[in-house]
């Protein structure tokens, strides 16, 4: 698998270099506007042309620095999971699904001293906030806390009206399921890498990508599971 990907990768790079050198040569002979006509794209597959568009056509600001310390080019490069799910249009065949789930399980790092619940009040803020990791024309300032934006896709506090429904409702989550070791572990896994249960899910891998750190995860988990949290309090009474 890995070997194959490498070969594909190298072929793409080779095609890219060929394209670049053709353009450079054309540019030396005679300065002309950079047009699609003078390059021969006709033999490229849509996939190869899309890769060219992302990495070599100047379409994206790839040199921009990111909050995590790399450049925007790193953000555009797909990891194995992103590539497999994109190619499978998020409906992996059973065999691939099993592989994805296995790799996702292996990716999960648990906090030392077990999974603890933090402060649900801070968790409430983090579940609402959509700030973090945006770049481009308006870079997010990471001196402010990075939120998980759970409300974009989930209902949580039943009194909060601004919630999305791309994911299932999580209202009364702890009140309905309790706060056992197994429940904690499931919620932690879902936040860290949800492909461990739902291969090619729409939900982001908040732990793998280090979008949320351990402390933030513990606060959000408290928001979901603490009986005092507004997510649960109405149901518990």
């Amino acid at each position: 698998m890995n070997k194959q990907n490498n070969i594909v990768g190298h072929t793409l790079i080779a095609i890219g270099m060929a394209l670049v050198s053709v353009t450079l040569m054309a540019g030396c002979a005679q300065p002309r506007p950079d047009t699609q006509a003078e390059r021969d794209f006709s033999r490229l597959s849509p996939e190869a042309y899309a890769e060219y568009l992302i990495f070599r056509s100047g379409s994206f600001n790839l040199a921009q620095e990111t909050q995590e310390g790399g450049t925007a080019a790193d953000r555009m490069a797909q990891d194995v999971l992103q590539r497999m799910c994109s190619e499978a249009r998020n409906r992996p065949q059973p065999e691939m699904a099993v592989r994805i789930v296995g790799a996702a399980r292996d990716s999960i790092v648990y906090p030392e001293g077990g999974i603890q619940l933090g402060d649900w009040r801070q968790g409430a803020e983090l579940a609402r906030s959509g700030t973090g990791f945006r770049i481009g024309h308006n870079v997010d300032d990471h001196s402010r806390p990075v939120g998980g934006n759970c409300y974009a896709c989930h209902q949580l506090d039943p009194d909060e009206l601004g919630f999305g429904n791309l994911g299932p409702s999580l209202a009364a989550y702890g009140a309905l399921r309790g706060d056992s070791e197994a429940v904690r572990r499931f919620v932690y896994d879902m936040i860290y890498n949800p492909h461990s249960y739902f291969p090619c899910t729409q939900m982001p891998r908040f732990g793998v990508s280090q979008f949320l750190n351990q402390e933030s995860i513990s606060h959000i988990m408290a928001y979901l599971l603490d009986p005092q949290s507004p997510v649960n309090v109405r149901h518990s009474r």
């Binding site: 849509p46 568009l53 994206f60």
Partner: protein, 267 residues
């Protein structure tokens, strides 16, 4: 205040959705927006665009009346719904925004540094000329069906690469456009999401220019593409770049046969 108004619209859309003609919550919400607003403020932009289009401007002292949007110099009726398209004179597939800039440069002699070309988006205090001209030219296709040509090999390759980009997951949140625009009747927060495979919804969704109530100005296709890549935490996309045109080519082709609302009114 505005947020409350929008929330009310979204909720009302959910409640009375069943009673309306369409059972698409995305479209029902849009209908209510149109009913609540007396006028579309984009009309003002359109009129200003019409004046700018016919005005003699730039170092070469000509208007844009001889600009060819694909159906021949000066033909505006139905030109926009047949874009993006291949332009032999530029050797490129272009969308309407890039084509207007092309004509501002080649016909009128403006350069990249001149304000009419440099200012791509409007702000609260200043409306971009480009947005106004775009709104005027686009309005000449109002009510027509989206129908981008797929005859030239680069038109097809551009559309097909756009499809790949649309489904390509990357970035800190593992998002692709498809993450949010594939499942019917879903919302992000209070916003109902249009689905790219539903022609009725999608032909409305890609109807740009639109006056965005939340922004208080008219926005364009290029502005929407930039915003979507921004929310996905992927790299900043360059205005008028080949990748942006590929996305717009795919999204217009997905709307093929659906009716364009130009200019539109959006949240």
């Amino acid at each position: 205040m505005l947020k409350k108004f929008l929330a009310g619209v979204a909720l009302a859309g959910g409640l009375v959705g069943g009673a309306m003609a369409s059972d698409s919550p995305y479209l029902t919400g849009r209908e209510q927006l149109l009913m609540l607003a007396d006028d579309n403020p984009a009309e003002l932009t359109l009129w200003r665009g019409e004046e700018l289009f016919h005005e003699v401007r730039g170092p070469k002292n000509v208007s844009l009346e001889r600009c060819d949007f694909g159906l021949g110099p000066g033909v505006l009726k139905g030109a926009y719904v047949r874009m993006p398209r291949w332009f032999e004179d530029a050797g490129k597939v272009m969308d309407l925004e890039s084509r207007i800039i092309h004509c501002m440069k080649t016909l009128q002699g403006f350069t990249d540094e001149d304000d009419p070309v440099a200012r791509k988006h409007s702000s609260d205090t200043r409306e971009a000329d480009l947005v106004a001209i775009y709104t005027y030219v686009a309005s000449q296709s109002n009510g027509m069906k989206w129908n981008p040509p797929m005859n030239h090999p680069m038109e097809r390759l551009t559309r097909n690469a756009g499809e790949v980009l649309f489904h390509r997951r990357a970035g800190s949140m593992d998002f692709a456009c498809a993450t949010c625009h594939s499942t019917p009747r879903k919302r992000i927060r209070l916003s109902f999401l249009p689905v790219a495979s539903n022609v009725e919804e999608w032909s409305k969704a890609v109807s740009w220019p639109a006056y965005r109530i939340g922004h208080g100005v008219v926005r364009t296709s290029q502005h929407r593409v930039r915003g979507c890549y921004y929310q996905m935490r992927q790299a900043g996309i360059q205005f008028g770049s080949d990748a942006s045109i590929a996305i717009i080519s795919y999204w217009t082709h997905q709307a093929q046969g659906g009716v364009a609302t130009l200019p539109d009114l959006k949240r």
